[in-house]
Symmetry: C2
Subunit: 461 residues, 2 copies
């Protein structure tokens, strides 16, 4: 069972999964479909979804058709978005609708929302009416809210029920497999309590549910942002959170597995935005699909680079007089760039993790200023010595060191305040990517170094 | 229950939590300790931990002493690391040990591993012998492995047991509160199956456990890396995963709440390393504590900046002859920087998410090359026009555009291959931060632009 890592398997996947993929590819190649169907039946849907991703479109369809209808639905629910669109695009709509009919509504939502609008509508049309309506109800909730994430299936009883009645109710419930809590509602379906199943097991059959329920239940409203749902589930260490409407009527539940997906999505978004990418790109997106988004940031960067160049342009005559200035000026800009990127990274992540309250802002700013001054001093000394040894120009070396310290202080202030300003303006602080904040340190870095040099130019020549 | 957001609350915390913090601060100020103790008793430990973080050290201790011993342990388990060290540092060791005595061993581990070595040893010495030994056993597992993460408490029965016996066993188990699964072991404690509690509820009292257990149980070995544990829990949508030794003997379980913490830690590490920070820094770390780590990357950056400067130094005479070169050269470097950062960000995150297998490497490289060429062409055209309008130098504008396209292609290759090379060398690909990869685009950018200009210098003057 140990996950031995092999140099070539980049995703650190389990050896078992890798072996499964190999076996399946071999059986596909040999056309042994019956043996393949047996193998697939025993495999976990999450593993089958990985296999499908690795196959060319024709084989994807062939493999998918070998799955039992129940299993096919589970596999569909596990596929990543580009592969899902590819596979569903190669299947007749009626075939897809038969598979979706057997899936829980919230998983159908996950599939349908990824498809092109027309195809989605046609598939919903072809599905069984009841299931299709359930799905369409869920689709009415805004994307990124608790309503869109929740499963409308749960097990709930009235508070007057006995433990025996509750157990009977759970036995009959279709959604038993995912149930770890029994919810308690009043006569108007308002959520009034919760009973973990192990407490039900430990209780006497005749005990009324009212006596063993916990009445303080953490819940979220149907319009709560999914990021807040994730924060709450994590903060209170929950494995499932009930979703209620404005009147606290129980509408559904969100499981921790969906919350994990949200946490990973949000982390991906932060990482990508900090790196100047849209936030939802995957390695396998077709290049044409991401051209606009990538190029947007590159064009913005072109604009900021031209701005920095125009600052240099102000001092062209100084550079003409002393070309060595051109050699050293990128060092000042580059050091400001790393410093402000470091600071902004810590602050943006601190905001996302909830560590960055208004109360601590001043402490963080002081920390960054202290670091800017001390590391600026240390680095300034090093670069002054290097520059002096290299060019033998004492004053120039000193100007370089002073400009570098200035720029490190600017970096500390910009790296701390820009993300916070964005957050208070309700903009994602992660867009304070290096493209934006390094503009400040580029411009200020060139300006301070070339400006100081120009002021003192007659002593430099 | 809706989380209305207010502009000043940076961490987007729930209003309730914010109100609780306010009430507590007020009661602390008024010295109404009895009322405060009542309020704290009803509050969730996770919320109390947030309150403690916001208080000055003296008030932290005062508040902590108002908690019941049981509650105090739960609060300690929820504190963030710097606050934990601060609070425990202000309390006598014997007082801390009494609180730890009442906590589950894996939570004691979380506390003790954050403390200075001497203090930790003293506290373990003062604890009840049995609990202390349990904790020390867990501490022997390497940090970052399943063993260090697991709880040694779980509910397990032999396969011959009946449902009635199993239920009786659960009732008696001390750790009932966190139980959602019943594990099945053979006579030598080998893990041979699992029964979700709801299935136990639905079964007949006389049924043998053997008849209702699932015998394919996902598990991890005690030495499995925590990142792999998280990947597996997420891949298979689990809420708890059993931990076994080399012989498949059941040793403990890891809950999804701990897995969520791992996922967030790993995301933080990736984000910070990409931003050129150590990976475990928080916004409130004392500046002296992070000086070395921050400065390390700044010094590395200083080295790479000097390298880039030395490339410019090669062409000093060209710049002397035509200072305009110095104005445009940072644009080529900067555009290469954004392009390679974008690419590396997508690739590093792709590796972390498991999307980046060897099979797709070629597709990703083509995608990035295509994007490099097309966006390079588009941006090159824009900058050539800008440069021509600005300086009226046609050949110079063309050189700028060509160097920019070259550099975008280099950016695509470096941004894709460097993280992958790091991964296959078992180094965290996230250290392919901009500091490292932009060195290539800086150096190549300056070299290609200034080199082309120098080759054609007689047509430029």
């Amino acid at each position: 069972m140990a996950p031995r890592r092999s140099g070539v398997i980049l995703r650190g996947e389990m050896e078992e999964t890798a072996r499964l993929i190999e076996s399946i590819k071999q059986l596909l190649g040999e056309g042994r479909d019956e043996r393949l169907a047996d193998l697939l039946e025993d495999a976990h849907p999450a593993d089958v979804s990985l296999v499908i991703r690795e196959l060319p479109p024709d084989d994807q369809v062939r493999l998918f058709r070998l799955l039992t209808p129940q299993h096919a639905g589970a596999v569909l629910a596990e596929l990543d978005d580009p592969t899902l669109r590819e596979l569903v695009g190669s299947l007749p709509e009626v075939e897809v609708s038969r598979v979706l009919d057997r899936m829980p509504p919230e998983q159908v939502v996950d599939v349908v929302e990824e498809l092109p609008r027309e195809q989605a509508e046609e598939i919903l049309e072809l599905m069984e009416e009841e299931k299709s309506e359930e799905v369409q109800e869920l689709l009415e909730y805004t994307e990124g809210t608790a309503g869109r994430l929740m499963s409308p299936e749960f097990v709930a009883v009235r508070e007057e029920a006995t433990v025996a009645q509750a157990i009977e109710h759970i036995r009959k419930a279709a959604s038993g497999e995912g149930a770890f809590y029994l919810y308690v509602v009043d006569d108007h379906d308002h959520l009034v309590g919760v009973v973990p199943l192990h407490r039900l097991l430990a209780a006497d059959a005749a005990t009324p549910i009212r006596a063993i329920r916990t009445d303080e239940v953490e819940s979220v409203r149907v319009d709560t942002d999914q990021e807040e749902v994730a924060r709450r589930v994590q903060h209170y260490n929950l494995i499932q959170i009930p979703v209620v409407d404005v009147n606290r009527r129980l509408l559904g539940t969100i499981g921790v597995d969906d919350v994990i997906d949200v946490i990973r999505e949000e982390a991906t978004e932060d990482i990508q935005r900090l790196g100047g990418v849209a936030g939802d790109e995957t390695v396998l997106d077709p290049p044409r699909a991401v051209f606009i988004k990538r190029n947007l940031w590159r064009l913005i960067n072109l604009g900021t680079a031209v701005l920095a160049a125009s600052v240099i342009g102000l001092f062209e005559s100084s550079i003409q007089a002393l070309a060595t200035l051109a050699v050293f000026m990128p060092i000042v800009a580059s050091m400001g760039g790393i410093a402000t990127t470091q600071t902004a990274t810590i602050v943006v992540r601190g905001i996302a993790l909830g560590d960055m309250s208004a109360a601590v802002l001043r402490r963080v700013l002081w920390k960054e200023l202290w670091l800017g001054l001390t590391t600026g001093g240390a680095n300034g000394l090093v670069i002054a010595v290097i520059a002096y040894i290299w060019k033998g120009h004492l004053l120039l070396s000193l100007i370089l060191a002073v400009a570098l310290v200035f720029n490190m202080v600017v970096a500390a202030v910009v790296g701390t305040l820009v993300p916070i300003a964005l957050k208070t303006s309700r903009v994602d602080p992660a867009i304070a990517s290096s493209v934006i904040i390094t503009t400040f340190t580029d411009v200020f870095g060139f300006f301070s170094f070339l400006g100081l040099a120009t002021l003192l130019i007659r002593f430099l020549l």
